[in-house]
Amino acid sequence: MLRLSNIHKAYGSRERPVSVLADVSLTVDDGEFCAVLGPSGSGKSTLLNIVGLLDRPCAGEMVLGGTTISHDSAQTTARLRNRLLGFVFQSFQLLPRLNAWQNIAMPLMYRGVPRGERKGRALEMLERVGLSERADHLPSQLSGGQCQRVAIARALVGEPRLILADEPTGSLDSATAGEMIDLLGALNRELGMTIVMVTHDRDLAQACGRRIELLDGRVVADSAAA
């Protein structure tokens, strides 16, 4: 599903590069539910952004869903994101002007799916995340947990190969956070959805089949390798 080989990433000037990821190699198989753990600043988000094709590594190779990623053209990577990936963000990132189902349907628009079909598929996803009766609510009329459910539905709607979640529970109270992890776990078990989730909460990470630990830009522990 996903293979990273010797990924390096540094920020800063060419003369004084600040290394953020150093020689990261790992493989994620289809159907895995991975937690990426590590203290703040350890490079978790950077890693997720590289996997999410939002950022490019300075060195190393990446194969995603059978495609070797080149970052040659922004058009092509955008289409790969649309086809292969679903994102869940800490701050939900819903468009306030659009209601729940319209937010969920957005990725389908960039695939040219007709409006009627988009709505049907968005409503299916809403049902999947248990929010059927909120289809016409605006984000401002939803609770944090409900917003994140809508965001998860949006990540799912395009039937991606991989869902990337960067601290999806970071803005939620612990009870709601637990519910969210349960939902992601259910999607993983029932749909076989591959999920990579960044968190710094070790308790929540217990629900994940695999835990990868980063420290200063290096993988220091990987439960799959243990």
Binding site: G52, L54, A78, R79, N82, R97
Partner: protein
């Protein structure tokens, strides 16, 4: 993926239009302000084109009776003696000059004219019979001057001249007597009112007409001082005028040629100045409007960075993002263009009414206004759109 797929946005255009409308509505007043420059620009251009169109029609109307082939030669005295040129030379012009179709000599002046009860200053026109046809003078009463009249002391009155010479119980009309200078004439006819035209040598309505051979009695000079010439169709009036002036020149008189073509040209040139001014106002307004639209779009891009980042994350291609903002700018200016066109037509109508013209719509200007405005939107929307498509999605998503 084919090249076509790479050049075009992936999202359906119709949907992007719908989004653009929704976004603009959400921005409300700011969108409306951005429209203003576009609106004024379009309005002035549409007004200019329609006013130009109407002015053209009106100026052609001025010559519609006599046509644009008329040439008038006027003799102005350079010294004490009366100005003029030889009558025979004028009458010979159709034979002597290849550009001339017809030529009439006239002698004109002003002087006191008296009826039994009234006295007034009037234009005096000593005319050959042909003037009636050339100037389309309609006879209301009696008859006009004929070739056999010679100087038989028969006169014809213009419509207003007859009124001025009339007194209660003593109407000036056919059969009444008038004194032109020291000579008594019998009124043989009265002309109906005529609409003044640009090349009339005098105001026909306020004139008394006598046979040309009477000129030496009632006017300071015996010779004609005006030649009214009809050119052959398609002849250039300028060189013909110069040639005829040379042929008629005589010491003591300075000759001037006025031709309808030249007058039309002068009027058109004046109009062109006005048009250019309106065009400049329009262009500047459109430019300012365009920059305003660009500014609003740039602000919108900055405010919607998170949205742009999100769209990029869920698979909007750079083209999709560009299309969204370019179309937003184009929709904005298009609305301005449509409203501006309406205002422009309204302004054109107001100008027509205040100038006493018939309102006439230049239909081809209708699509032009929104078209130009939309184009401005595309051009000035491009930069903000490209800016939006080049945002780094990670940073954009982090924006507050």
């Amino acid at each position: 993926m084919s090249a076509r797929r790479t050049l075009l946005p992936d999202a359906p255009l119709g949907e992007t239009f719908a989004e653009a409308f929704a976004n603009l509505r959400a921005q409300g007043r700011r969108s409306a302000l951005a429209l203003l420059g576009i609106l004024i620009g379009t309005a002035s251009i549409i007004a200019m084109l329609n006013v130009g169109h109407m002015a053209q029609r009106e100026s052609l109307k001025l010559f519609s009776d006599m046509g644009v082939d008329m040439l008038q030669i006027l003799a102005v005295p350079t010294g004490e003696a009366a100005a003029g040129f030889p009558r025979e030379a004028v009458e010979r012009l159709p034979q002597s000059d290849p550009a001339v179709a017809a030529a009439l000599p006239l002698a004109t002046g002003r002087g006191p004219v008296r009826s039994s009860r009234k006295q007034t200053d009037l234009s005096i026109v000593a005319m050959p019979p042909g003037l009636v046809r050339l100037a389309r003078l309609p006879v209301a009463e009696g008859r006009s001057i004929a070739a056999i009249d010679d100087c038989g002391f028969g006169a014809v009155l213009g419509h207003k001249a007859a009124e001025q010479l009339s007194a209660p119980g003593a109407a000036a009309g056919v059969g009444s007597r008038v004194l032109v200078g020291d000579y008594g004439f019998t009124v043989i006819g009265v002309f109906a009112p005529v609409v003044a035209e640009t090349l009339d040598p005098t105001d026909y309505n306020n004139a008394v007409f006598v046979p040309l051979s009477c000129a030496r009695r009632v006017l300071p000079g015996a010779d004609p001082n005006v030649a009214m010439i009809r050119l052959k169709p398609g002849v250039d009036g300028e060189p013909a005028g110069q040639r005829i002036i040379a042929a008629l020149a005589r010491p003591g008189s300075s000759l001037q040629a006025m031709n309808a073509q030249r007058i039309l040209q002068t009027m058109n040139a004046q109009k062109a100045v006005h048009s250019r001014m309106l065009a400049a106002i329009g262009a500047i307004s459109l430019l300012v409007g365009g920059i305003g639209v660009m500014n609003v779009m740039l602000m919108s891009v900055m405010e919607r960075r998170r949205e742009i980042g999100l769209r990029a994350a869920i698979g909007a291609t750079p083209r999709d993002v560009q299309a969204l903002f370019v179309i937003e700018a184009a929709v904005l200016t298009l609305v301005g263009g449509v409203v501006g066109t309406l205002f422009g037509l309204l302004a054109g109508y107001a100008i027509a009414v205040s100038s006493g013209w018939d309102f006439g719509l230049a239909v081809w200007t209708l699509p032009l206004g929104p078209g130009v405005a939309g184009l401005i939107g595309l051009v000035f929307g491009l930069y903000p759109a490209i800016t939006a498509s080049r945002l780094d999605p990670i940073e954009a998503l982090r924006a507050d």
